[in-house]
Symmetry: C2
Subunit: 433 residues, 2 copies
């Protein structure tokens, strides 16, 4: 694939400890792949996931793991064969003999980007040989509805039907349900006690799952992995703390937040000193169950969270679908060193996985944001990741920071987040366990 | 992937019945993929295979199916992620927890092309996360030997060791053995009664397997598939006949050969008349157990096989390792309409499969051969197939003969040959069954 590599801060990425990490990963590729195989035997991979990775030059870490990934429409066509192989592997494990699958989407019928994602996912599954229909949870969708998309891809939404404990749409009894709805508002009645397998399980919806839990498990996984390959876990693991009860509007829990921001900044400063890093430490405060880049702020001192004005507090208090934020994770900020395009806009990579395989990715680029900002915000753009032929084919004979090798490291770290998600599924129990 | 498409005879490929076949395959992709899934449940796919396909414009058919594929070094790098995913799927089924594999190569230490293939296969398996060693059957290889290859890839051959019923090399007890030796001279003593799984099983070696048996099974598979998708099986199935006992030197069985050539030419003429095809019918006579393009001749009449001179008879009598040919398959010749390069050299495609997945392919091109000749001969060249992003991602919205769609058809027909090979494994029994 002849896609441009984004500009990177050469000095930082070429000389930092990250290069050591990349070298270690390349040297130990056989052991690493074997380690992953053992993980998948113990805890099968989720059906799919996307992971946001930030590369600071000295550190490569996941900052968000989405178990209901959207954005399949942003993957370059070169990734399609990988997606199809992985879909076939994933579905064969769940429905070895059947071929009918039902996708349950988000209720955003007016978000054309999301609808393009849904149409692309349907198309990929169809190409993999499955009968796919889309069953919507929307109460006001009472009959099959064909939507017109800019891409020209067809998309039909149909009302969900329940017969006994089986879910389907009119005239269609699927073997399994694939959730692409993060269940922020809880598990709807119609999805409770369902007989068919639901992937990922509804227990992983944002009504019950928290970012703190994910990063707690991730940190264990990263620790196990880091000791296996012999690197400092901090190179792949973002530090974090959490406050269980925060009400930004009433300012309840503000003290907890301020003291944790302070403690976390101190911990980051210590690591920066250890590695001689001259970056300015910062933390990111996120709603513990938030998605879509909502309810996120950065802080460089405890005062940043105590001095919020009403507008800022309102913004932090509202998550997706207006849900009140009641828990927060305070995460080490990872400066992004990746740049895209002639203006050097900051970029972060988003990797997509189906079953246990990395199947693609892209750069999320934001022209009007900085290296410490969240890039998941209106105005963001998506550019192909130059690793179509890289994520699973590193070449130890090249420089560790050469494109294909860098992307091998990306694929490894993204899969560590996937292992964490797999363990969350076990911990939280499957539907109706 | 921006590779040039070979020139094709536009008139024939665009208007022939093949285009109808391609349209049918595209329309019914979901059903076809489901059909393959059912096949793999009944008869698991062989570990790997390569299939030679010839495209006559009106017909697309396999002419050879190799269960011990060489030529992995000829696959474009773009295919590597597909190879790695498929290797991981294949090995997980056989050795879910172990990671040590032993490859048993051919004994051609002086064939540098073969050695490059072996080094590339080792490299792919290593990248997929396995410990791989190469254990040679050569009696005169008494200690580990490092070979220097033109590509710079390392390759170490080690003498096979047997302890009890386990095979390995010094200090290495593999979970499974991967055969890349076609066992033309029979199953060596050291590989009999082995405890580990051997893939493909030794019963599929050329000492016991015959081309006639493969094409008998293929014909059944093609018939089942053709009736499922509603096409004439002849469009994907080369007609053939066989003679069990032929001695080209003593001319025993020459009469059987001549009469079968005649009957087959008559059958081909009938199909050509049915479709209004103006090509000149021909047949290909091959050693029933031969490989490497040896022991092959074409005939346009019964006289062509009775009038052989001594040199021609000697050539037909000698297979690989000088084995006397005792059975022959007489196969419908499939004119190749594919052309490569500015001189329009004839080309045929070779597709590679690992487990049940198409993982790559290339064109075999021969500048000094014609459309009815075997191209598997000294002087052949290999060029990348332009389907890196095509074989598993057809687009029904494009013309059925557009590159990606044509290659979907190629992938389907190659997998039909793979289904036939899977059934051969069941029919012939596994090792020591």
């Amino acid at each position: 694939m002849a896609l441009p590599d984004p500009m990177t801060d050469a000095e930082a990425t070429l000389r930092g400890p990250l290069q050591q990490l990349e070298s270690r990963l390349l040297e130990q590729q056989g052991e690493i792949e074997a380690w992953f195989r053992r993980q998948w035997l113990q805890t099968p991979a989720p059906f799919y996931a996307s992971v946001d990775l930030r590369n600071a030059g000295y550190k490569l870490a996941p900052v968000d793991t989405n178990l209901f990934p959207a954005g399949f429409n942003n993957l370059a066509p070169e990734f399609e064969p990988l997606c199809i192989q992985a879909l076939q592997s994933a579905v064969d494990r769940i429905c070895p003999t059947a071929r009918s699958l039902l996708i349950i989407p988000e209720n955003h019928t007016r978000n054309r980007f999301y609808l393009e994602n849904m149409a692309r996912l349907v198309e990929l599954m169809h190409k993999a040989g499955f009968n796919v229909r889309v069953g919507s949870l929307m109460a006001d969708l009472t009959q099959p509805t064909d939507l017109e998309l800019d891409s020209g891809r067809p998309l039909r939404l149909e009302p969900l039907r329940r017969e006994g404990n089986r879910i389907g749409v009119e005239g269609f009894d699927p073997c399994a349900l694939i959730l692409n709805n993060d269940l922020s508002s809880g598990v709807p009645e119609i999805l409770r006690g369902v007989e068919q397998p639901v992937m990922p399980p509804t227990t992983l919806g944002w009504a019950t799952r928290t970012k703190s839990e994910h990063f707690t498990v991730y940190s264990q996984v990263a620790g196990e992995f880091a000791s296996t390959v012999g690197v400092d876990r901090w190179l792949i693991d973002p530090l974090f703390r959490n406050c269980g009860q925060i009400n930004f509007m009433t300012r309840d829990g503000e003290e907890c937040l301020a003291s944790n921001v302070d403690m976390l900044l101190t911990a980051i400063r210590e690591k920066y000193a250890e590695y001689g890093i001259e970056d300015d430490p910062y933390v990111v405060i996120k709603s513990d169950a938030g998605t879509y880049g909502m309810g996120i702020m950065t802080a460089r001192s405890a005062e940043d969270v105590t001095g919020l004005n009403r507008k800022q507090r309102t913004k932090m208090a509202s998550g997706k679908e207006g849900r009140e934020v009641t828990g927060a994770i305070i995460q080490e900020g990872v400066h992004t060193r990746e740049r895209w395009g002639e203006h050097g806009s900051p970029a972060e990579s988003v990797l997509y996985m189906i079953d246990r395989f990395v199947v693609g990715g892209f750069y999320r680029v934001h022209e009007s944001r900085g290296a410490t900002d969240s890039l998941n915000a209106p105005g963001m753009q998506f550019h192909p990741l130059a690793f179509a032929d890289g994520a699973s084919r590193p070449d130890p004979q090249l420089d560790p920071d050469a494109g294909p090798n860098r992307y091998y490291a990306y694929g490894v770290v993204a899969r560590l987040a996937l292992v964490a998600a797999a363990r969350e599924i076990v911990q939280n129990g499957h539907d109706d366990d």
